[in-house]
């Protein structure tokens, strides 16, 4: 009896003890944001960076910026690239922060058109970055990357089959049932690869069949569709050595740098550089930012040399500033494509939903 009663008291104590930090956290949360509001007007203060989940930066690089600028950077990851873009549009008039990073060129126009960004062109923007500029300065290019078909070199050697080189190659019968692609409705590299085919064939390429004809051919050739890159790469692609069986996959041009052999002399997978679409990731200042001064400083930081040099190691992308030195194995195993396929951002925004619908009808049925 007494022990049961004591147990009751202990449980009650746990509840009460649990309440205290909860309440303290409430107070802390409110206090924190109040403080950021009051100090944001002056020099320094807090600047809030809204990003996608893949955002990463070395601690020391960020710390150096914070020290030099007197700013505190609050990082707020908000989901994948698509979710981020749509959230930024949805919160028009009451932004989630001061700066958004991670809007890619497939969503750029939607965000620019929604009028949620403040125009700002940083003075130090590199020549190589300027070619990607969109929205008349509303978005600043930060980093780029290519989405390409990747092949499992070892698999093709073992099966005595020549590796494909082009988009057309993979529709050939000898590559039947060997390829995994991504659903553009749910995957951002999937969307990028769809755009590669649209950029390559348009409505009349591929012997007049256009990009839809190309996908019909792919389907006939036994292409498999995954909902996410991680599933395609790790569960389906033989090159990941995780039990997958298909040797051709939609992935990044950087992926071969991850399958380098132990001695570092070679890689077991290859990105087909004639099949690529270039993704560009942008940053912009949100309209209604509480700390516009800090926001401009943050954009300046994102295009600065220390941050640009930090990008490959942290985010698997290439710095938009081509003068920045790349890691050695990237130079060796993961170069960018010379002539990636392109689609104008405005076209993407105008047709995005229709293209995905058409793709879905063509491939998924």
């Amino acid at each position: 009896m007494t022990s049961r009663n004591r147990r009751g008291r202990v449980a009650a104590a746990i509840v009460v003890a649990g309440l205290l930090p909860g309440l303290a956290a409430c107070g802390g949360g409110a206090g924190g944001s109040a403080a950021s509001g009051s100090s944001s007007g002056g020099a320094g203060g807090t600047v809030t960076l809204v990003t996608h989940d893949s955002w990463a930066v070395s601690k020391d690089v960020l710390a150096a910026f914070e020290k030099e600028s007197g700013l505190t950077v609050k990082q707020v990851p908000m989901g994948d690239a698509g979710t981020l873009a749509n959230q930024v549009v949805l919160t028009k008039g009451s932004p989630l922060g001061d700066v958004v990073y991670g809007i890619d060129n497939t969503f750029a126009s939607r965000v620019v058109d929604a009028g949620v960004l403040e125009k700002y062109t940083p003075a130090g923007l590199s020549e190589s970055a300027k070619q990607y500029a969109v929205g008349d300065g509303a978005l600043t290019p930060i980093d780029v990357g290519d989405v390409c078909l990747n092949t499992d070199i070892t698999w093709f050697q073992q099966h005595n089959l020549p590796e494909p080189k082009t988009l057309e190659d993979v529709t050939k019968p000898q590559y039947k049932d060997l390829m995994v692609v991504l659903n553009p409705a749910s995957s951002s590299p999937g969307m990028a690869f769809l755009l590669a085919t649209i950029g390559a064939f348009g409505d009349s390429g591929f012997d007049g069949h256009g990009w839809t004809g190309y996908w019909t051919a792919l389907k006939a050739n036994g292409v498999k569709v995954s909902d996410s890159w991680e599933d395609a790469y790790y569960s389906q692609f033989s090159g990941a050595r995780q039990g997958g069986t298909r040797p051709i996959v939609v992935s990044y041009s950087t992926s071969p740098a991850d399958s380098v052999t132990k001695d570092g002399s070679a890689t077991t997978t290859r990105a087909l550089l004639d099949t690529c679409f270039r993704q560009v990731e942008y940053a912009g200042i949100l309209k209604g930012a509480k700390n516009p001064e800090g926001a401009r400083k943050l954009i300046d930081f994102l295009i600065s040399h220390p941050f640009q040099a930090d990008i490959p190691g942290q985010m698997y992308m290439y710095p938009a500033d081509s003068t920045v030195e790349l890691p050695a194995d990237w130079k060796k195993f993961a170069p960018l494509a010379d002539k990636p396929f392109t689609v104008a951002p405005a076209d993407v925004t105008a047709h995005r939903d229709a293209w995905i619908d058409t793709w879905t009808k063509t491939v998924v049925g």
């Binding site: 009896m1 049961r4 009663n5 009751g8």
Partner: protein, 341 residues
Amino acid sequence: MGGLSVRDAVVRYDGEGGTTAVAGVDLDVADGEILALLGPSGCGKSSLLRAVAGLEPLTAGTIAFDGEDLAGVPVHRRGFGLLFQDGQLFAHRDVARNVAYGLEVARVPRAERAARVHELLDAVGLAGYGARSVSTLSGGERQRVALARALAPRPRLLLLDEPFSALDRALRERLAVDVRDVLRATGTTAVFVTHDHDEAFTVADRTGVMQAGRLLQVAPPEELWRAPASREVAQFLGYQAFVPLGTRAGGWLAVGPTGLRVLSDARSTPQQPGSDDSGRVWEARVVESAFRRGRAQVIVVVDLGSGDQRLVAQVEDAAAPAPGAAVKVTLDESSCAVVGG
């Protein structure tokens, strides 16, 4: 005036159809008195008890104790005790802490509390049971603990709601006697709800008969038997037939359970039928015979003035007449009562 005083009490439930459980009851219970409320189930006796306890709101009327109106006094401030049919012990407390509960709430010092618990467990015959878990107790023991728990804070009034109905017959009778003794010994004022006549007459000083939300009569047991206030009361008490008196004031002679007698052949018709009903003789036909409590009884069909009825009649001879036999029956005055119209 001391004790409980109920005036024009009405309890109405606004559930389906909006039934009236208590329809204007007046009741007084003197200090130290034990009153039983007797009635069939659904007659409103429990509702009246719950209203006195403060568990049901009064739709109309007043309830006062020691002259103080109890309207607005919540249950826990009334200083009453309540004993439920099934005890309702706190399963998470042992026997002693169940009994001590009311004392804990009243902030009685620990030592005094322990002494009182000891005293009461003793009084209900459960000395030494203090540390037992209530789940180990039998039904009778649980009711004893519940009684001790209700008495511990020395309630001004103890309310007992069919406290023995969940127990078997032998236990019920023994416990009824025990409860009466404890209540007498502690001088507790009590209202006791039951549907069992024997229980009511065993425990109570006075008994109130309730029917359909109304209190028909309140009286000591023998008075109740001798002079039921109405036909309904008499009927509920077990009077089996009613013979019109034929007087100007109207009224009936109520025939008690043992109020009808078969005239034996040997001493047939000692009296001539007359105007006095007690001397009247009726023709009857035996339909069943039985032997109960050492006496022969028959069930006869007889017309006492309001059509054929099946009634129980006592037989004085050792051998009861066989079914089908035609007999003569007469009334036994000492087992009959006159009731008004």
